[in-house]
Structures are given as structure tokens and as C-alpha cells.
């Protein structure tokens, strides 16, 4: 450790260069730790389990403009046609599509309006008894609805009387966990909870109540409907190509549009998060590279500048490993200052981000990981110049004096 003092003195003599390196390391640490934390946050969000096998699902819109079409009857015909396509597992005409980024949600209550009572918001899917099978979601408790439960209507003039819900929604309404079989209300329409389904996401992934889902056995005959189809694995593309032709052959006064895989809808919905993740990844990679090059470049210059000094040290008996150690120690000293400053900067930055941009508070582990990473990177970056320094011949000391 006796080398520390001369190293420090040498640094002090060219303090501008050392100071710049300290600042570089500090800012790099602040950026990398915060960015890595945001990336981790987004990756967790992007990799969450939706409860749905979206690669087997696709949807399309069906818009009937013909005024003479019996929409209710045509919907039944369409479903029969779709379910008969080879490769189709099941299909339903539905009010909204899970994971699509747009849809409807509403609050269910324990008592009918206008009485005040506990309520919980859920996204609701309305279709016939094929709904659960189309979603390919398991029933965890109770019973599925049957054809006899399904109500066919024009609008809200009639209402179904049973509902399937996710456990998360039921627990919001009945925190004791005894909700199965109880009655909940949409306005003043009663619904008996007949079953609990396995966890699945509604239309929005970033919704606070993304896990609250209700399935209602009701089919409304409206000009604008969505259709959700589940195919056997690997057969989705061939089915998607047949749909439009098949349905228009049955009734031409309508438009089939936006035939899209549900996995694609998820990608669209999460594009902002994926973009952020990718941009930050590029940013910190390049940043680390630039900082490493900076460290390396400066060390190279120092080697050049200190040629005679190093030669003299070698002539006086310093081993090659001593020379390498000198550079590694010098880098450690600079890194230490940079890291102390950087930790403070990282915390301050996280504070600003949290206050202005509603980001979660920085996990201190990320500072620790980034700190270790940057220090190691610095050592690697300085190693090559240090190796070059060992090539300096001791005879240099005798030559030019």
C-alpha cells in the first residue's frame, strides 16, 4: 500500500484529467443504475403471465351495414361457420377482446342501485357458452355457464342472471373469500356468481384492476361486433386467411376488418414499454463502451507521458507486475472517487425521476450491481495500456538522460 501516496501525488499533478474521469464514472454510474432499474421494471411488466395463450388466438371486427340483415340470427350462423373451419378450436362473437388495449369495464356492487355498497371494477366479456373454452381458461371453482344461461338481446333491455369472475375480482367484493354463489349487481340487475375462473388479464395490461375479469353469458345483436377465435396450435395463419371470404359469402352487406393475432395486439399495447427497454439498453451499452474507451485512452496517454518514469522504475528493480499494479491501483483510486460521487448522483436522479415521472423508487441493489460492473469494466479497460507499459525497456532510463 506504500504506492498509494505517489499515485495520489501523480494524480494530483494532472488533476484536471483525473477529475474528468471521476465525473465520467459518476455520471455513468448514475445513468446505468437508474436505467438498469427501469429496464428491469419493464421486463417484469412485459414478461408477466396473462393467463392466455395469445399465440393461438386471433380476433377481427365485423361491421354490418345492411339494414335488412337479421344481425342476431346472422351471428349464430357466423359462429357455426367459424367453429366448423378445420383447425378452429372454438369461436365466439364477443363485445371486447382480451389484451387488445381497448374495451369496457364497469363496477359491480353488492347491492342494487341506488343503495350505496361496496363495489369493484372489472372488465366484462359478453358471449355465449363457448366463451370459456374459446379463451382456454380453466374453471377453478363452481360451474361454467350453459346454453340455458345465455340471454340474447338487442341492447340492455334484458340481462343475464349469472356471471363467472376471477378470484381477484371476487376478493375485492368479498374480502372474506365467501363470494361464490352470492349475488352481485350491475346497476339494479342481479348476477349470481356461479364460478371462479383461473387468473386472466382483461383488455389493458397497465390497468390497476387488470386481473379483475367478469364473463357474462349474454349476446347482443349490434351492427359492430368483435369475434374471437382460438385455433389449434400452429394453425392460426391458415384459419385467418379463410375467415373473410367465408363470412362474406354467407352475408355480403358487411365488412370484416382488422384480422389480427392477439399476440400482435399485445405487442402494440406494450410498444411504449418495449421501446423504452430497447432504447435504454442501447444507451447503457454504448455509454459503458464510451466510458471504457475514455479510461483506456487516458491510460494510454499516461503510459506515453510516463515512458521515462516507468523505464527508470524498471531500471531500479520494479517488476512488470509492479507496473501493472500501479495502473490498476491508480484506476481504483479514481474509480473510488467516481463511485462515491456517483452513488449520490444516482440517488438524487432516482429522487427526481420518482417525484416528476411517477417511477418506483430505485432499488439500492441496482446501484451496487452497476457500481461493481463499472469498477470491473474500468480494470479491464486499463489492463491493456498497463500491459503496454510493461513493454517499456529499462534501458530508456539510461538513454536520454
Amino acid at each position: 500500500m506504500s504506492e498509494l501516496k505517489p499515485i495520489f501525488n501523480a494524480l494530483w499533478r494532472s488533476k484536471t484529467g483525473a477529475l474528468l474521469l471521476v465525473v465520467q464514472i459518476a455520471v455513468t454510474l448514475a445513468i446505468v443504475s437508474n436505467a438498469a432499474f427501469i429496464i428491469h421494471d419493464r421486463v417484469t411488466f412485459l414478461n408477466q403471465d396473462t393467463g392466455l395463450k395469445d399465440e393461438n388466438l386471433f380476433r377481427f371486427n365485423l361491421y354490418t351495414f345492411g339494414k335488412n340483415v337479421d344481425i342476431g340470427q346472422q351471428q349464430e350462423v357466423d359462429e357455426t361457420l367459424l367453429r366448423a373451419i378445420p383447425g378452429v378450436a372454438d369461436a365466439v362473437v364477443i363485445n371486447q377482446v382480451p389484451l387488445s388495449g381497448s374495451g369496457d369495464s364497469t363496477s359491480f356492487h353488492l347491492k342494487p342501485t341506488p343503495e350505496q355498497s361496496r363495489g369493484a371494477r372489472a372488465s366484462f366479456f359478453m358471449a355465449d357458452e363457448h366463451l370459456l373454452n374459446t379463451l382456454d381458461v380453466k374453471l377453478e371453482d363452481g360451474r361454467n355457464f350453459t346454453a340455458a344461461d345465455v340471454v340474447y338481446s338487442e341492447g340492455f333491455e334484458k340481462s343475464a342472471s349469472v356471471v363467472l369472475v376471477t378470484r381477484s375480482h371476487l376478493l375485492d367484493l368479498f374480502p372474506e373469500g365467501d363470494g361464490l354463489g352470492k349475488t352481485i349487481y350491475l346497476g339494479d340487475n342481479p348476477f349470481q356468481v356461479i364460478g371462479i375462473i383461473a387468473p386472466m388479464k382483461g383488455p389493458w395490461l397497465d390497468d390497476e384492476q387488470a386481473d379483475n375479469v367478469a364473463l357474462i353469458p349474454q349476446v347482443m345483436a349490434a351492427p359492430f361486433k368483435r369475434v374471437l377465435v382460438r385455433t389449434e396450435p400452429g394453425r392460426r395463419d391458415e384459419v385467418m386467411q379463410q375467415v373473410e371470404k367465408l363470412l362474406l359469402a354467407s352475408e355480403s352487406e358487411r365488412v370484416v376488418s382488422r384480422i389480427t393475432g392477439v399476440d400482435k395486439l399485445v405487442l402494440e399495447q406494450t410498444s411504449q414499454d418495449r421501446l423504452m427497454k430497447n432504447m435504454l439498453l442501447v444507451l447503457i451499452t454504448v455509454l459503458l463502451l464510451v466510458t471504457a474507451l475514455g479510461i483506456c485512452g487516458l491510460a494510454l496517454f499516461n503510459v506515453g507521458r510516463r515512458t521515462r518514469q516507468i523505464g527508470t522504475r524498471r531500471a531500479l528493480g520494479a517488476k512488470k507486475s509492479d507496473i501493472v499494479r500501479y495502473f490498476l491501483l491508480e484506476n481504483t483510486l479514481v474509480s473510488l472517487f467516481g463511485i462515491v460521487l456517483g452513488v449520490g448522483l444516482a440517488l438524487a436522479m432516482s429522487d427526481v425521476l420518482m417525484r416528476h415521472y411517477s417511477l418506483p423508487s430505485l432499488d439500492n441493489w441496482f446501484i451496487l450491481y452497476s457500481l461493481a460492473g463499472i469498477y470491473l469494466m474500468g480494470l479491464v479497460a486499463v489492463y491493456w495500456p498497463a500491459q503496454r507499459a510493461t513493454q517499456i525497456s529499462p534501458s530508456i532510463a539510461t538513454r536520454s538522460v
Partner: protein
């Protein structure tokens, strides 16, 4: 002299090719990353009608009952109910005003070769076209009388005109929307208003409608909203009339106010309107009020530029700062190594200013070259954004301001970084170096 400095700079850069290349790459990558995120930010935050910023206002009313909160910072919903829109339309204060709604139709072209398609449409009042300066190629908006009566007329965009008729003047022809015939009375020139300031509910880019019909057709054709419907209480809606009478918020309302006086008058008018409605039993809350926001305020309020974009811009400027610190230390090392040579130049009569200028020119060359290379990197970054994220197609672009900003930022940043090293080297004492030669 300047040319001579450029020559000297070029020689100096060539003499240390590795360091020069490192510095060039550092500045280019810094500028490339910064310009990529800055361009997206710039395009997102652009005000498409700055000249009418203080004339076009969005109207909001806090209509919910006591105890019902909205998720906006000022507790005001974005949209209006039908009854409020109909009432506000009677106000004499605004110079122009328009209630509107995003809707849509199945279009069945007369030409049997074109299969039916879906077209989103905007139901709006006739003032809409003048308020947003929508250019007409043929025809004109419908009369004010139509705003009161409701008549099946339509204005179509250039693209739709091309698709249906192959272009040309088709005023007087019919377009069949959901089996109802509408007479075409106007055809627009190619027109784009982005971000789409008149309705930011369903995305701000690439959504300008190609089909416009009178707002007064709502009760006649029972037009559905293809945008957002926000309810805050349970209401039975068995018929379309139920929806028109409901408290559902589903319409956009914009006014054009000529000056400050008109703005004050309109605020007073809204306050009066709320009092009047409270007497009728609506707006049952203590802090019922209305507000108007101009274009810039509205864009900011609707958070068109997401937090993520702002964070990215901040981070990339910090990144640029690291690149500069990097360049600064490399320049310092490089210039100081050259001190003996400078000592000789100084002894031969070069002034401090000349030495300083010579080095700044060298740094400036580096800055310009780095800026140019940075532009290439930024273009690549934006290209990757456009191809990977369809949402960003409209905003992952560079306009003229950004093209100019890149070399400017690069040059300024480099000169800033070069000042200290150049100053340091020009203070070289000639005597010191002459001795050792």
C-alpha cells in the same frame, strides 16, 4: 488564416489517428443518441397550429355529482354530455364553435369492383372546417342551417375521393354510408393535422378522418361513438334517446375566441351556465365549474409526450455530457503532449490568440464531422424505431429544425469541451521548451 488553421487542424488530427477516431466516435454516438430521442420528443410536442394557439380552446365542465372524482389533475373530464353540447351551441360568445364526435360507417362504393370497407368519420358542426383551416379542393362546408336541421350531406377527404372515384370533382354525387345515401357537398385537398388537436382521445397521430358529416345528424341517424364513452353513474340506456339524455361524457367541444375579452366573456358564460343548470338539478357539487384550455395547454394536459420520452431525452443529454467529458480529457492529453511544438511556434511569434484559435478550429472540425456522423446514426436510430414500432411512424422523423440542430449542438458542445484544453495549451511558456531542444 482560417484556411491555414484548417490545414493545421487536419494535419494534427491525422497525426494521432486512433485518438481522433475515438473522439469522432464519441461525439457522433453522443449526438446520434441525443438526436434520436430529441427528434421523437420534438415531433411529439409540436404545436400544429401555433398561429391559432390563443384562439382555439377546448371546453370542459365538471358535471359529476359531489363525491365523484375524475382522474385528471384538475378533476375535469375531457368530454361533454350531449345535453351540455346542445346547450353550449346556443352561446353567442364564441366567434366559432363546434361540437363533435368520432363515428364511422360501412361504405358501399357504387363501383362494384371495390369491396365495401369501413371508414371512420367525424360528425361536427360547420365551423369545424374554418376553425382548423381545413382546405377545400371543391365545394364548401354545409350551411349553418344544416347545423340546426340535420341533412344527409358529407364532405370527403382527398384520399377517400381518390379511393371512391379516382379523384376529380364529384360534388353532387352520393356516398352510401350504412345504407343511407349522403350527398357529397365538399372535397378536401390533401390535409393533415398532427397531433390531432381536436380529438386526442384515441391517439394523436395518423388519425385524421376522411369523412365529415353534420353533428346535427346524431339524433336522426343515431350515430354511435367510435371513440370513448365515459360514464360516472349507472344509467339505464335502452334507447338512443336515453343516451342523449344521459350524463355520459362522449363529445368533444371546441370554441374559437377572438381575444382576451372574449375568453373572459366565455368563462363568465360557462359560470352562468353552470348556475342555471344547478337550478335545474344538475351539477350537484360545491366546486362545479368550467374551464377552457388553449392548444398548447391542451397538448400538455393530455400528456401527448409521455414521461418515458422526457426521461429518454434527459438521459441522452447526460449521455452526451459523458461523451464530452471523454473528449475533453482526450483533447487535454493530446494538446499538452504537443506543448513543445507550440513552444516553438510561440517563440517564432505566434500570439496566444492565434494558438487558441488554431486549436479551436481543430476542435470545431471534429465537432462538425461528429455532427454529420451523428446525423447518420440518428437517422439509423429513427429508421429502427419506425420499422420496429408502428406507433412511432409519424413521430420518428426529423424536420428541418432537427437537421440543423444536430451539427449546431455538436459544434457548440465540442467548442465548449475544447475551450479549456486550447486555453491551457496557448498559455505554454516558450522558454521552457526551447531550453530542452
Amino acid at each position: 488564416m482560417f484556411v491555414h488553421y484548417i490545414d493545421l487542424g487536419w494535419r494534427s488530427l491525422k497525426r494521432t489517428p486512433v485518438v481522433s477516431l475515438l473522439m469522432l466516435l464519441a461525439i457522433a454516438i453522443g449526438i446520434g443518441i441525443t438526436m434520436t430521442s430529441l427528434s421523437v420528443y420534438h415531433m411529439m410536442s409540436v404545436n400544429p397550429m401555433p398561429h391559432k394557439n390563443d384562439q382555439l380552446f377546448a371546453v370542459q365542465l365538471r358535471t359529476m355529482d359531489q363525491g365523484v372524482d375524475w382522474w385528471t389533475p384538475d378533476d375535469l373530464p375531457f368530454q361533454l354530455t350531449y345535453q351540455d353540447a346542445m346547450n353550449l351551441r346556443k352561446s353567442p360568445v364564441p366567434f366559432r364553435q363546434a361540437a363533435m364526435l368520432k363515428t364511422g360507417f360501412g361504405v358501399k362504393p357504387a363501383n362494384p369492383d371495390i369491396s365495401p370497407f369501413i371508414e371512420t368519420a367525424r360528425a361536427a358542426d360547420s365551423d369545424f372546417f374554418a376553425m382548423y383551416e381545413v382546405p377545400f379542393a371543391y365545394g364548401a362546408p354545409w350551411d349553418k342551417a344544416v347545423d340546426l336541421q340535420g341533412e344527409a350531406v358529407a364532405v370527403i377527404g382527398a384520399e377517400l375521393n381518390q379511393k371512391l372515384f379516382g379523384g376529380g370533382n364529384n360534388i353532387g354525387k352520393d356516398i352510401v354510408l350504412d345504407s343511407v345515401s349522403y350527398r357529397i357537398i365538399g372535397i378536401l385537398k390533401a390535409w393533415k393535422l398532427e397531433p390531432q388537436i381536436y380529438d386526442l382521445n384515441n391517439g394523436a397521430w395518423g388519425q385524421n378522418e376522411q369523412l365529415f358529416i353534420p353533428f346535427s345528424l346524431l339524433p336522426i341517424q343515431e350515430l354511435k361513438s367510435w371513440g370513448n364513452n365515459n360514464g360516472w353513474k349507472y344509467e339505464e340506456q335502452k334507447t338512443y334517446q336515453d343516451k342523449l339524455n344521459s350524463e355520459v361524457l362522449w363529445l368533444q367541444y371546441k370554441v374559437e375566441l377572438a381575444d382576451k375579452q372574449a375568453q373572459q366573456d366565455y368563462r363568465d358564460y360557462l359560470a352562468g351556465y353552470i348556475k342555471e343548470q344547478q337550478q335545474l338539478g344538475r351539477f350537484q357539487r360545491d366546486d362545479a365549474e368550467g374551464d377552457i384550455k388553449n392548444i398548447a395547454q391542451w397538448l400538455d394536459y393530455r400528456q401527448i409526450v409521455s414521461d418515458d420520452n422526457k426521461i429518454l431525452v434527459g438521459l441522452s443529454f447526460m449521455f452526451l455530457a459523458v461523451c464530452l467529458a471523454n473528449i475533453l480529457s482526450l483533447l487535454l492529453a493530446k494538446f499538452l503532449k504537443r506543448a513543445p511544438e507550440i513552444g516553438v511556434r510561440r517563440a517564432l511569434g505566434a500570439s496566444k490568440t492565434q494558438v487558441f484559435a488554431q486549436h479551436l478550429v481543430e476542435v470545431g472540425m471534429l465537432g462538425l464531422a461528429g455532427g454529420a456522423l451523428g446525423l447518420v446514426i440518428a437517422q439509423l436510430g429513427l429508421y429502427l424505431l419506425r420499422s420496429g414500432f408502428s406507433r412511432y411512424e409519424a413521430v420518428a422523423q426529423m424536420d428541418l429544425a432537427m437537421w440543423l440542430a444536430a451539427p449546431t449542438i455538436s459544434l457548440l458542445a465540442c467548442l465548449l469541451a475544447g475551450c479549456y484544453p486550447a486555453w491551457k495549451v496557448c498559455r505554454t511558456t516558450p522558454a521552457l521548451y526551447l531550453k530542452t531542444q
